[in-house]
């Protein structure tokens, strides 16, 4: 039997115009989003301003749209569920993107791009409500040919009630795979 476990992995920020979003990883399944003023754009530019406001977005492995996170291993061919959610009702999730990546083998699969499913036979996107999206996908056999990790890379655009949009990226690393 081939199985694997999922855990969240560090993710850096993606600058957006004159503002940036810093993802604070706490080594569980959640991370915070701080909207900050920045003085430099681009990776490595860093944040030097003060926090304007803080929001919270969670991304985790889950088994249904009910947004209950779990750490259950997945078998080859089994569907993988990913929940993206926030409890802030003044923020909505839009334009979700998600890919599976395996660095050492260079295997990859685009699951969702801008909330459009790439292969409907393999994946499904459920917009549970404006604050919660559930992505379910079959993990193809090619990702289980080695014990190398599989990462889940993604991004979600968040839209605030005010109409302002921000881009948030995330990464989940799939480790402890047993062959």
């Amino acid at each position: 039997m081939i199985s694997s476990n999922l855990r969240l992995f560090f993710q850096s920020f993606i600058p957006y115009s004159k503002q940036g979003i810093e993802l604070l990883f706490n080594f569980t399944f959640d991370f915070g989003v701080n909207i900050e003023e920045v003085t430099e754009d681009g990776p490595g530019g860093g944040f030097t301003g003060e926090v304007i406001d803080s929001y919270h977005i969670s991304v985790c492995k889950c088994s249904s749209h009910l947004s209950v996170c779990d750490t259950n291993p997945i078998d080859v061919g089994e569907t993988l569920g990913v929940c993206i959610m926030t409890t802030n009702t003044d923020m909505e999730l839009v334009n979700v993107s998600l890919s599976l990546l395996q660095d050492n083998t260079a295997e990859s699969m685009d699951v969702v791009q801008n909330s459009v499913i790439v292969n409907p036979a393999l994946s499904e996107l459920t917009e549970v409500n404006p604050q919660t999206s559930f992505i379910e996908t079959v993990v193809p056999n090619k990702f289980f040919q080695t014990t190398d990790n599989v990462a889940i890379d993604g991004a979600v655009e968040v839209q605030f009630v005010s109409g302002v949009r921000r881009l948030v990226s995330f990464r989940i690393d799939n480790t402890a795979k047993d062959l």
Partner: protein, 139 residues
């Protein structure tokens, strides 16, 4: 003039509470069921492997030696015919895949799937479910 009937209102409410799902994942089940063998000189169905697979999935089948990597040699007449059958009233989610293998018994002992030490025929069947050319599931 607009008319509102109870059925229209019900339909609207139902629509509003339905989750917005963009697609529906198809069934990728690939389940080995059985192997049946009855060797006979004139028979063409010496071995039958049976799998249960998701309805209308594309598939491929390959036969190897027992290590599941080495090609079978010494059996030039080896033939394999896959057939799909359905009983959607009984099981609408699955097709039955039968892989019928015709073995020339006169070639068995010269092949690399014959184990002389215990007089057994040992080979490996690999079935793939495909999405285009990509292997989604392997059994």
């Amino acid at each position: 003039m607009l008319l509102y009937s109870p059925s229209c209102i019900t339909a609207v409410i139902t629509l509003l509470i339905t989750l917005q799902t963009t697609a529906s994942i198809v069934n990728w089940d690939l389940i080995y069921q059985s192997v049946d063998s009855h060797f006979a000189e004139a028979a063409t169905d010496d071995i039958t492997l049976t799998y249960m697979i998701g309805t209308q999935r594309e598939y491929s089948i390959e036969l190897y030696a027992s290590d599941c990597e080495t090609s079978i040699t010494g059996m030039p007449s080896l033939n394999m015919v896959p057939t799909i059958s359905q009983d959607y009233e009984l099981d609408p989610l699955h097709d039955i895949l039968d892989v019928v293998i015709d073995v020339d018994v006169t070639e068995i002992t010269s092949s690399n799937i014959w184990d002389e030490s215990n007089d057994t025929l040992e080979f490996c069947s690999v079935v793939h479910l495909l999405s285009g050319v990509e292997v989604i599931k392997e059994e």
